[in-house]
Amino acid sequence: MPSIKHFIILTLLSLLTACVVPSDENQPVAGSGLQRLPTDAEVEQYNASVDPDDRIVCHREIPVGSNIPKRVCRLVKDVQETSEFHREQLRRALN
């Protein structure tokens, strides 16, 4: 009986520690030359000086296959192009 208890506690502990694994937000972004993702204030400062299309948006996303939210930053025009691409794909699939 105690072994089952220990097993449950160990399982719960491993789940809990999985949730507190530091996210890779502050790790270098491969290929981008950036040392880390910009902070919210840095993004806002950058956005204030560029054209609307060149602005960056950052938010938390839960990637497929994981329950741990990850902060991602994208250019507004990339978001727009991706949305347009998906809309086009959907249009084609429906026709």
Partner: protein
């Protein structure tokens, strides 16, 4: 021959006469034209316009300010920065008339003019930006202005550009940065206040002409959380700017902890706020400040957020403990915010003559006498009583009761622990929109 000669001479003299008459007319008209555009007229016209504004004659004021701008352009050139003061007043007169489109054009012109000064003199640029930011905030405060949220974002973006320009020219740790950063913190408080009330999604990613750029908008909670996070980040940056200075002191550091606590409190993080306040208390104690002075500091009633950063320990200022707290409400758009410190009262509109005198407590124990537990009772007015109202009516008292009840105050601490403070007196001045409502109701 002689006849033809005399005829020719007569013709020449006639032509000369006509030409000279024309010449005289031209000189006279040029003088008259110049008289209308004498340099000093600009100042006279601006003064005349200000008087007209004070009397509520906005259209006449608008004409005076427009003429003043023309005079400056004639004398100093089309792009002269000297048209700035007249242009500011012109925008105020247009806003007071509710002529949003015309005001928008003039704001865009001001922004264009200000951008030109950046390459010439950074300090002129910063001065222009300060004034423009004030005008954007003023435009955003008009409840009926359909672009109020956009102007708030414009003010914030302008402040960010000022920060970038200081960083680029004077350095990333220049002391000039702090007021600009703190103003951005305040704008985030206004933004969160607007979002909470209107359930507005973020305007961040809208283009400057009001179109949605990518159909991208943050949810209400996400947007409020972002404002909190940026505000916190900027306050920490201000802390590090002060810490990095040669004359950095433990007292300044402790006072910054108080501002961090205020920010947490405004976003309902009461436990973190209390921890900042206690840390500040302990740090002041450690740095050798007399306990009675620290207690005096934490006995002040301050409506949050504080309008400006005060990071010098000035005990003589804190002596005004029993004086009445004055709160000039800014706008119905931002119901829990006081009028920004660098703002004039809304130009030409109703002066803040309608007010109430209220009395309330900040409690360390709840009404049942139970042991102190961190709750709203410490931070928002309890047992609120309206003592006096101008004009006195049930409607005015109820309006004031609701407005004052929403305010958040810095908690009182005694020896680092939460303290009860009874009988806090507050003079509340209504917003221009509330003035109009009161007049309409009477």
């Amino acid at each position: 021959m002689s006849r033809s000669f005399s005829a020719m001479a007569a013709l020449i003299s006639l032509v000369a006469l006509v030409t000279s008459a024309h010449g005289q007319e031209a000189v006279i008209s040029q003088q008259a034209w110049l008289n209308n555009y004498q340099r000093f007229y600009a100042e006279q016209l601006v003064e005349q316009g200000i008087l007209a504004m004070q009397q509520g004659e906005f259209q006449s004021a608008e004409q005076d300010f427009s003429k003043a701008i023309q005079v400056v352009k004639v004398n100093n050139g089309l792009h002269s920065a000297l048209q700035g003061p007249a242009l500011s007043h012109l925008i105020e007169s247009l806003l007071a008339q509710g002529r949003w489109e015309a005001a928008d054009q003039q704001l865009a012109y001001f922004e264009w003019l200000n951008k030109r000064s950046y390459s010439q003199n950074i300090f002129d640029y910063l001065e222009g930006s300060r004034e423009l930011s004030r005008l954007y905030l003023q435009a955003s405060a008009y409840y009926t202005n359909p672009r109020s949220a956009r102007y708030l974002i414009s003010a914030k973006n302008l402040n960010w550009r000022a920060v970038s320009s200081i960083e680029a020219t004077l350095g990333t740790d220049h002391p000039l940065l702090t007021p600009w950063l703190y103003d951005i913190v305040l704008i985030h408080f206004y933004q969160a206040s607007l979002e909470k009330r209107k359930g507005m999604t973020s305007y961040e990613f809208k283009s400057d002409d009001g179109e949605i750029v990518a159909g991208w908008a943050l949810g209400k909670n996400e947007s409020i959380q972002l404002s909190y996070s940026i505000g916190n980040e900027l306050l920490l940056r201000i802390c590090s700017l002060y810490t990095g200075r040669e004359n950095a002191s433990a007292v300044t550091d402790a006072l910054m902890q108080v501002y961090l606590g205020d920010w947490e409190l405004l976003f309902d993080n009461t436990r973190i706020a209390m921890s900042h306040y206690r840390n500040a208390y302990a740090a002041l104690d450690r740095s050798g400040v007399v306990k009675s002075e620290i207690n005096l500091f934490f006995s002040q009633s301050i409506v949050l957020p504080a309008g400006e950063l005060a990071i010098d320990w000035q005990p003589e200022k804190e002596q005004a403990l029993d004086t009445t707290v004055r709160f000039i409400a800014w706008s119905t758009n931002y119901p829990d915010a006081a009028i920004p410190v660098f703002h004039n009262p809304p130009s030409g509109s109703l002066a803040p003559e309608f007010k109430v005198l209220a009395n309330f407590s900040l409690l360390a124990v709840n009404s049942t006498g139970a042991t102190a537990k961190i709750s709203d009772a410490y931070f928002s007015p309890q047992q609120l009583l309206i003592q006096q109202a101008i004009p006195d009516s049930e409607f005015v008292r109820e309006l004031a009761h609701n407005a004052i009840g929403q305010l958040i105050l810095r908690p009182h601490l005694d020896s680092g622990a939460l303290d009860t403070h009874d009988n806090i007196e507050l003079e509340y001045f209504f917003t221009p929109e509330e003035h109009a409502m009161i007049i309409g109701n009477n």
